[in-house]
Symmetry: D2
Subunit: 328 residues, 4 copies
Amino acid sequence: MQKFGVDDLRGVIAVTPTPALPGAAALTARDTVDLGESDRMIRALVADGVDGIITNGTLGEMATLTLAEWQDFSACVADAVSDTAPDLPLFVGATAPNTRDTVDRIRFLRDLGVRGVILGRPMWSELGADTLLAFYRGVAGLFPDMAIVLYDNPEAFKGPIPSAAYAALSEVPQIIGAKYIAITPKFGADMAAVGSRLRLLPLESDWLAAHTLHPETALGCWSSSALCGPEPVLALRDAIRAGDVGTARHLTRRIEWTYEPFLARTNFPEFSKYNITLEKLRFDEAGYVAAGPARPPYHLVPGPYAEGARENGRRWRRLVGEVRDRNS
Amino acid sequence: MQKFGVDDLRGVIAVTPTPALPGAAALTARDTVDLGESDRMIRALVADGVDGIITNGTLGEMATLTLAEWQDFSACVADAVSDTAPDLPLFVGATAPNTRDTVDRIRFLRDLGVRGVILGRPMWSELGADTLLAFYRGVAGLFPDMAIVLYDNPEAFKGPIPSAAYAALSEVPQIIGAKYIAITPKFGADMAAVGSRLRLLPLESDWLAAHTLHPETALGCWSSSALCGPEPVLALRDAIRAGDVGTARHLTRRIEWTYEPFLARTNFPEFSKYNITLEKLRFDEAGYVAAGPARPPYHLVPGPYAEGARENGRRWRRLVGEVRDRNS
Amino acid sequence: MQKFGVDDLRGVIAVTPTPALPGAAALTARDTVDLGESDRMIRALVADGVDGIITNGTLGEMATLTLAEWQDFSACVADAVSDTAPDLPLFVGATAPNTRDTVDRIRFLRDLGVRGVILGRPMWSELGADTLLAFYRGVAGLFPDMAIVLYDNPEAFKGPIPSAAYAALSEVPQIIGAKYIAITPKFGADMAAVGSRLRLLPLESDWLAAHTLHPETALGCWSSSALCGPEPVLALRDAIRAGDVGTARHLTRRIEWTYEPFLARTNFPEFSKYNITLEKLRFDEAGYVAAGPARPPYHLVPGPYAEGARENGRRWRRLVGEVRDRNS
Amino acid sequence: MQKFGVDDLRGVIAVTPTPALPGAAALTARDTVDLGESDRMIRALVADGVDGIITNGTLGEMATLTLAEWQDFSACVADAVSDTAPDLPLFVGATAPNTRDTVDRIRFLRDLGVRGVILGRPMWSELGADTLLAFYRGVAGLFPDMAIVLYDNPEAFKGPIPSAAYAALSEVPQIIGAKYIAITPKFGADMAAVGSRLRLLPLESDWLAAHTLHPETALGCWSSSALCGPEPVLALRDAIRAGDVGTARHLTRRIEWTYEPFLARTNFPEFSKYNITLEKLRFDEAGYVAAGPARPPYHLVPGPYAEGARENGRRWRRLVGEVRDRNS
C-alpha cells in the first residue's frame, strides 16, 4: 500500500541540510553528522508547521555523506518524524551513482518505515531519454509502496527531464511529484504533460506565479530557505490559499529581496559549483539550524560568494521578523 | 527630443513578419517584399488596437532581407503607421553584423521619421560584457532622440544580457525596454536591476505571471502570436488591466494550448534553427497575415516541425473565434 | 616509498572492463563480477605484454559496481598482477562521489598492496578550479606512497582539467600521469604545462601524432581497444619506439578504420551516454575478453549504436589478424 | 571553367587582416581601409612565397567592414594578386548573414576576376544539418567556376560542420577545401569523409601531426601567424616536404612557444570574443603588417589579453630571426 499520493504533496515542502559536527570538512573525519541538531531541526520544522520534508538532495549532501552517515541521519530523521508527525510526507534522498545502490538505499529506508524518497538520476554519464525512463520505472517497479519525488536538477544530472519523460513518468503511480528547478519556458509544457497525476513543486518564490496560472494543481512548493526559518514561506502558503494575492505578492518580493545577494539568482551554473557551502552558510547565519561545515570536496568557496550567502541569511532573518510582526 | 519613453511601452506589442512574394525562397530572387500585404498588415494591427509594433527581429527576417528590401519594408511600415497612428510606438529592427552598419540603418530610419528601434547584438563573435555595454551605449549616444528596445535573444546573440548589464543599460535614457525571451530564474533579478527605468516585455503567455509579481512595472508584453490575430492577446491585456485574473488565466491557458504542438515550447534551441519558417507557416495557417515563404537559407524545415506550426496556427484561429464569441 | 613514478608510465596502458556474469543487468543482481574471466583477462594482458593496466574508469563501471563487487574485482586484479608481474604499473579506479569515499577506497587498495590509482573528480557538482586542486592535493597528501593517474574526462566530470591545474598538479610527486581524453587544441598547452613531470597519455590513435611533436615525453598511450586484442597497439608501440613512422602510420590508420562505425568517433557527447554498453559490446564481439552485460542504469543502447560497436569489434579482430600475419 | 581545384590548395595559405587607418574604431568612421598597406601586405606575401591567401574571415573583419569597404579591399587585393601572381590561389571572404547577400558578394568578386571564395555559414540562427548542405550546394550551383573553401569555425557559426556534411560537400566539385579549426577527435573521421576530394587545412602548428598521419592529403595549412612574418611557416612547409621531421618538429614547437601567452591556446571560447583585436595587436607588434585598429564593436579587449597578444607577436618576431639565422 502506497502511503503518500499526489494529493499528499501540497503546501511547503522544506528541503533540509545534513547538520555537521565541527571538523567535518577534514578528509579523515568520519561520523560527522550532528544527530542532536538533526533531530532538533526536524522537530522544529514539524512544530512550525511545514507540510512535508525533503532530505539529502544536493545541499543535503547526498554526494558527500558516507553510507554509514547517511544511514544514521536517515534513521534520526525517520525517528523524529515518526515521533511527532507520523503521517507527514517525508522524502529521504536515495540518489546514487547507479540503480542497484539506489535500490539498496531504498530498502534501507523502507525497513526504517520511511515511505517516500526523492530521487535524482545517476550522474557519472548523462542518461539518454530511454535510460531515464527505464531507471525511474525500474526503481518504482521494485517498491510498489514507496512514493517517489523526482529530483529535477539539470546541472547535477546533466540535463532537464524532458516534457515527454514527465508525461510518461506521471503514469507511474508511485511517482507523485518533482522538485522542479525553476519556472522556465518549459514549465507550462511540463504542467500540461503531468496534469493532476504528478505534482510539480516550484521554488517558493515561483509559487505565486505558478499558482496564478495553475490554481488547481500548483498546490505546493519546495523551499530550502525554509531552513532559514519557515515563517515567511508558511505565510506565503496561507496567503495563496486564502486568495490574498496582495500579501502573497508582497511576501514573494520580500523573498526575492533576500535572494538579491545570493549567487543562485544571477549565475546558476556557477552557483552549482558551490551550492552546498553557500546554503549551509546562509542557514548558519539565519540561525534556524546549525548546519555546520560542508563536507569535502565541496567545502571551499570564494569569499565574495560566501559573503553573499551570509547576507542572504541575514536578510531572511530580518524577513522572519517582519512576518512575525505582521502576524502579531 | 526623444518621442518614446518607458511609459509609452505598455500593452500588446505585436511582432511582425516581413511578408514575402511568391518565389522569395529562390537564391536569385530580389525585391521579394510583398509591400501591399505589409501595408495591409500594419493597418490591420493599428485598426485592431495593438499598443505598439516591433518589426525585423529574427522572424521579421532581419538577417535575410537585402538592404534594399529592408529599406522598402521599413518605409512601407513607417508610412502606414504615420498615416493611421502617428504616435504609435513603432520599433523597427536595426540589428546588423557590426555597429557601423547599425548606425547607418538607424540614420535611414530617422530620416523616415521613425523614432524607435529594436536592436540585437552583432552576433558573428559573442560580445564580452564590456563590449555589450559599449555597443548599446555607443549607438544610443549617436541618436539622442531615438528610443531603443533591447532584443534579448540568447540563442541568436550567443548568451543572455546579464543582470548587471541590464542595470547599467537602464540608466541610458534612450534605452526604454527589452523584448525579453521568457520567464527564467533570472527574471526577478533583471526586474530588480531595471526598476521602472526600462520595461522588460515578457511573452504574452508569461505576462500574467509577470504581472502578478510586478503589477507596477510588468505593464506590457510582446507577441508574435498577435500576427495570427490579435484579439486573444488584446483580451488578455484587458483582463489583466481590469484585474480579472480568472479571465486572464483562462486566456493564458488557451494560449498555452495553442502552443502545445509548437516546437518553441518543448525544444527552444532546436526551434531556433527553424524559427522563421515555423512562424511564417503558422501565420499563413491562421490567416491574419499572408506571411509568404521564408528567405534563404532559413527556408527549409523538417516536416513534423512544419505540421506542428500549422496546427498552432489552426488552434490560434479557433481561439480567436472563442474570444469573439465571448465578446459578442 | 612511492613505487611508480612518471618514468614507469610508458608504452601501452590497457584500460579494462569489469567482466560481468549473465544476469548482471538485473536490478536485483548482486555479486555480478565474473572473477574467473577477470583473472584470465589480467593474465592475458600481462602475457601479451602490455606495459600497464588501468581498471574501473567509466567503461570499467566504477559508477555501477557495488562496493563489494569493486572490492572483489580489485582483489582479483591485484592478485593476478602480483602473481604474474608484480612490478607492472597497475592503476585501479577509486573515483567516488566524494573525497572521503575515495580515501576509503584507496586505503582498501593500499591494504591489497596496490600502489597506483586512477582518479576522476567527484561529479555531482562540477568542481571549481580551486576545489579541483584541493581535491587532488588532499588525496595525494594522505597517501605519500600511492601513484595517482588523473582521469581527465570532460563529459563525465563536467569540464576539462585546465592547463593551469595541470601545471600545479604536475608539481605533486604522487601525481604521475593523466588519461588524456584526446588531442585537442589544448594538448600543446597541457604538454608544456606538465613538462616531464607528469605523463599525458593520449589515446592510442593519437599517439603517433603526439610522439611526432613530443618524442621525449609522449612515451605512452592508453587503449581500451587493447581489450579487443592488444597486438595492434603493441605493434604500434614497437614501431614508434623503432622510429618506423611508416609502420606506425599504417597501424594508426588501420586503427582509425576500426573506429569508423563507432559512435565515439563522430559524436562524443552522445557516445558518453552509452559508453559502457558500447565498449562491452565491441569487446565481446572481438573475443579477447568476455565482458558480459553492462550494469544498470547504463545497460540500454539504441540498436544502430550497438551495431556500430559490434562492427568496430569485428574490424579490430580482423586487424589483429593482419598484425599477426605481418609479424609471422 | 573552375580555376582552382583541390590540388591547387597546398602549402601555406596565409590568412590576412584588413588593415585599418587611424580612427577606424570610431562609430562614425567610414572608408577605413588602409588600401596602401593592404596592397603592400599582399605583395609582401607573394614576394615571400606563400602558396595561397585567404582574406575576410573573422580576423579579416568580414563582420565589421561596410559593404563599400569590403568592395574596396577586395578590389585592392585582387589587383595586387593579379599584378604579381595571377595564378596564386586567392580566397576572398564572402560570408554574410544570408544566402542572397553572399551571392551578391560572390558576383562582385567574380566581376573582379577573383576565382576563389572562403565561405562561412549565416550565423544569426544556427543552420540545421540539411540547411547547411542546401546553403553550400545552392551557392556552388550558382557559380560553377568559383572555387569554395569552407570556413569551419564552430564558435562563429554555432557548431562544427558534421562529418556527414563533410562527406556530402566533398562531392561538390567547387568545394575544394576547408579552413579547419584545429585537430580534434573528429579530425580523423573528417579526413576519411573527404578523402582526396577536399583539402582539410589545419592550423600550421597542427600540420606536422596531420601530415604524419595523412602524408598524401594533409598537404597544406592555414596560418594567420604568417602575417607576423611568413618565414617560420614557410620553413615548416619546406621541412615537411623534405621529410625532415626533426626540423619540422623544432619549428612546430617554437611556434607553440610563441602561442604560449596567446589566449587562443588556453581558452578558445573566451578568445573568440576578442579574436579580432588580439590578432591585430600581435600583427602590429610583430611588424610584418600594420594591421591598425579593430572596427567596432570588436575593438575592445581586456588588458591582460592584449598583453598576451603582444607578447605572442614579439615571440614570433624573434622566431623569424631564428629562422633567418638558420637559413643564412
